[in-house]
Each structure stands twice: as C-alpha cells, then as structure tokens.
Symmetry: none
Subunit: 182 residues, 4 copies
C-alpha cells in the first residue's frame, strides 16, 4: 500500500470514529469525505457503504474491549479482575457514547464484526468462569447487560456518572454473588 493511501485511510477512519463516537450516526460518506479533506471517491474506496464504515468502526471498538479484557485477566483475584474489566470498559464506552448506542442498534453484521464480538464473549466468559460461587450469568448475557449499563449510565449527566457506575456495579456484584439459584 502506498504511503499516501495509508495516510488517507487512517484519516478517514479516525474521522469516522470521532463522528460516530460523538453520536453522529447519520454521518454521510460525502460529509466524511469533506471532513477528511479527501474526495468522495477516496472514501468510497475505503468504505464501499455507509454500513461498512459503521461496522468497521464498531469492530475496532470491540477490539479495544478485547484488549481491556486481556489486561484484566492478568489480575489474580477473580472478582477484582471482573470489576477491573467492567470499570475500564464502561469508562471507555462512556467516552464514546455514540459508538455504543450504535452497537446496540446494529443488527445485521459483517463476519469481521461478528468474529470480534465472539472473541469478546470468550474473554468475558473466561473472566466469569473464575468466580466462586459460579455466577448466574453467562459471558454473553453479561455483555448484553453491559450494553444496557452503558446506556443507563450514559443518560446521567457527566458529573454523576462515576457515582452511577459505582451503584450499578455494586448492584451487579451483589446479584452475581447470589449465585445461579437466585
């Protein structure tokens, strides 16, 4: 790949990510071209479709979460590991609220995005699997609930988010501690 091509591709991607993170999910590819300072054709070469753009950005977000899960796994205490993951993941998600609103809305996915999500589920399941007593939730369920938490927390004004995060995590911890039988 040519150097200028790589540079363009990166700028376009970054601009797309910034826009979606900021909640501008209706970003048109023409507008993206304008913001990136390239011609429309170039954008269409990178993202053949608005949808393709969206999913590429989402995939990259999923991969960020995977890295956070990997980092958390290095923690010895299983409860702390899970908590660390949830805290850092929530923080990351809340810094880019639009991204996760979309992640929630999206239904039809590319293989790349699906694969990334599957990897993420695996990581989270592993974190849950170390808990004793065994928790009431599977990794998949926890992630779905996670999206819900993001949404719930993001509705709070900036200054109360930390407190809200604490409240929800405490509730979750208590719920998980109750074990599978309820």
């Amino acid at each position: 790949m040519r150097a200028d091509a790589a540079r363009n591709r990166e700028r376009i991607f970054d601009e797309a990510r910034r826009a979606i993170a900021a909640g501008d999910t209706a970003l048109t590819l023409n507008e993206l071209a304008r913001r990136s300072g390239v011609g429309v054709g170039t954008v269409y070469r990178v993202f053949p479709t608005q949808r393709a753009m969206l999913e590429a950005v989402l995939e990259s977000s999923a991969r960020d979460l995977i890295q956070l899960a990997d980092a958390a796994e290095r923690e010895d205490d299983p409860h702390r590991a899970l908590e660390e993951f949830l805290r850092t993941a929530l923080a990351a998600a809340l810094a880019q609220p639009g991204l996760f609103t979309v992640l929630i809305t999206v239904t039809d996915e590319t293989d790349d995005l699906r694969r990334a999500k599957a990897e993420l589920v695996t990581r989270v399941s592993r974190l849950l699997g170390r808990l004793r007593p065994a928790p009431a939730l599977t990794g998949e369920n926890l992630l779905k609930l996670f999206c819900g938490l993001i949404h719930a927390i993001s509705e709070h004004p900036e200054e109360r988010r930390a407190a809200a995060t604490d409240a929800y995590l405490r509730l979750l911890r208590a719920g998980l501690a109750a074990g599978p039988a309820g």
Copy 2:
C-alpha cells in the same frame, strides 16, 4: 373536529405505531400516508414533522407504562408490586422492540414526551420507595437500567426470553436487597 378527521388521525397514528413497533425505522411520512390510505397532506396535518410523529408514538408508549405502574401499585406486597411492574413492562416492551430501540436512540424531546417520562419516573420512584431496606437505586436509575434490560433480553432468541427475564430480574432483586451501602 369532523368525524372523518378523527378517524384519519387514529388510523395514521395506529399505522405509525405499528410500523415503529415492528422496527421499520425507515418509515417515511409519504409511506405512512400510503399505508393509512390518506394523502400526504393529511398526515402533515396530524404530524407537522417526522420527528413529531416519532415523539407522539413514544409518548403513547410511556403512557402505557404509566398505566402498568398504576396497576402494580394496587398490589400490597412492595416487592411483588415492583416485580409485577417490571415483568409486565418488560413483556410490553419486548412485544414492540422497535419502539424501544428508538426510545434509546432519541435525544431531542418535545415537552409532551418529557412530561410523560417525568410522570413515569414518579410512579416508579413510588414503587421503589415502599421497599425495605431502602434500595440502592432511584426511580430514574431503575428506568434507565430498564432500557438496558430490554435491550439485553431482546438480543436473546424468542424461546429463551422468559428464562433470561427471570435471570435478570433475580439478579436485580438480589442487588436491590443488598441495600444502598453495598
């Protein structure tokens, strides 16, 4: 208001609600006119804007939830009352998935919609207020979490939703029982 005008208004509203509930978020007002069997002009008399249509439908959904909360309040046992509300509300929400996907996405609101939401918060706070020990969540928080739950549950296939609902509600109950101090 003329009788035919009232009839039209109702048909248009119903059709809009049905479409949005079914997830047809691309519903255009021209299309809505076609489905309702009226001219575009008539639709624009009922809903001056596409946005207005959306919010009118959302408000009506919020009012439905308010009624469910009112019904639940007649239950004597506070824990059962809350559980009844959450169950019936979740069921209603899941039957109209599109509606709540939109509710999640929507940011800019009319006064009518804002007022309806406020009333709903009041009702839920009242349900929570009867719990002992006092719960860790405010009514507002619970509703935000509620949206998250809808999303989490709706990602499950139809046949596993009942079980998922149970699991999440159990987790929620355990969490709430733990009380404010964690």
Copy 3:
C-alpha cells in the same frame, strides 16, 4: 389529472422529444428538468428512468408513422400508396434524425413500444400486400430496410437529400418490381 400536472407532463415530453430528435440521446433527466423549467422530482414522476423517457418518445414517433401509413392507404394505386408512405415517412424521419438513430440502436423495449411497432408492421404489410407482382419483402423487412434508408439518407448533406431519397426509392421500386424470385 390536475391541470398543472398535465401541462408539466406535456412540456417535459415535448422537450424530451425535441432533444432526442436533435440527436441529444444522452439527455439526462436532470437536464430535461432544467430545460422544462420544473423540478427533478417532477420529471422522475413522469419518466421513472432515462430509458422510459426514450421509449415513450420512440413510441410516439412510431404512432406518427402509423398515421402516415393510414393516410397512404386511402390512395387507390397500390404503388403510389407505398411510395407516398415511404416519402412522407422518410421526410418525417429525416426532420428528426436523432429519433431514428435511437430507434435503430434500441434493443430492449417496453410493451407499449413493442405494440406500437407491431401495429406499424401490420400497416406496412397491408400496403405491400396490395402490390402486383407480390414483392420480395415482408412488411417487417421493409421497415428494417427503412431504418437503413433513413440512416443512409441522413448522412447526406441537407441539400442533396431530396435527390438521394429519389435515388434510393427508385432503386427500391425496381427491386420490388423484380418480384420474389429475383
């Protein structure tokens, strides 16, 4: 149909016909809107496709030829009848050269256009059927050759077209007189 709608439709059609007759077969629907003094949307309501426009115009031309054939049929002498048709038809065609260049190029047709062409063939076959001795060409063949003649004649400069028409018609007459066996 509303009066203004009819007026617009007619203006659009006329403008399209003029352009194509003048050889501007690449006429875009946007340009057609501009020339007709209406919005693009209006043009797209009249002609959903550039192709649709083209075929509508062609059909109208075919219908003009049908009328000429009908008029020629009222002539008693069969040879004069055919000659009259060919002369007037050639004159009409040459006044709108583009139209027939397209008629030549077109392959994929709507039913309307196909039907009009079939009617035209019927008329010309009838004119040929009256000739004695029976001619060597069917109506269909004659029409195909007719397109060829248009093209051949239209390549001549304006001032020599009359002479060219004479030459080709004379050749045709002699050829037809020779009869089917050659």
Copy 4:
C-alpha cells in the same frame, strides 16, 4: 517502443475491440484496464480518451473492409466482384454487431478514421465503376446503404440471416441493374 509496451498496447486494443464488437457499449476505460490486466494509466497512454479508443477500433474495422474490397477486385466479372465484396463485408459486419451500431451512432471523427473511410469509398466506387450499365448509386451512397443493410439484417434472428442477406442483395442487384435513369 519497449517489448512489454507493445504487448500491452495490443492486449488493450484487442480487448477493446472484442468488447465493442460484442455490443458492450458501456465499456469504461477503468474496466478495460481491469480486463487487460494493466493499470488505468497504461490504458490512457494507449488511448488518451475514451473517444480515441472508439475511433481507433472503428478505423481498424474500416481497414478490414478495405482489404475485403481489395480481394474482391481481383475477381474478373464486375457483378460478381461487387457481390463478393458485399457478401463478405456483410458477414464480417454481422459477426461484430456492436461495432457497426457504434459506427452508425458516431458523428465526430478523427482524421485517421476519416481517411480510412475515404479509402474505403474509393475502393467501392472502383467496384461500382466497372458495372454496365452504370449503376444508379455512387460508392458513397452504396456504403451508406450498406450500413442500413447491416442494421436491417442484424435485426433478423441468426438462422434467417442468410436468407435475409440473399433477399436484400437480390433487391439491390435488381435495383442497380435498372440503371441511373430509374
């Protein structure tokens, strides 16, 4: 010229000719590059313009016809010579229908193409000039009619083309035999 350059030029030319002969009038230069297995830039070095490509291909076709005329000229009997030329030329033209559809449509020409056409006219005039009685058509006229014949014949289904060719040629022979005065 470098060997690879020559090879490229030839491949591009052949691919262009094949496509146009096959009636693929929508051939873009980017697509031509793809099919030829070279970059767009290389195509643009060979054909500075899409138009240039078209005319180059047409010129090559004209030169093919010139060769056929030269071959026919070696026949002693003037009537047979003309007939041979017309038959072989029609056969060649019908094998590449797209080429002649384009030839008909084209108006604006390069000098190369114009020159080739002039040479062709000279050859055909020479073939006509040997006929006795002197024919009613000039070489130029005959060629224009020729295009018409191609079109007329090409409209027939494959299996009836030989018969159609016979019919039209017979008609032409009879017409030419009638001489200049009609």
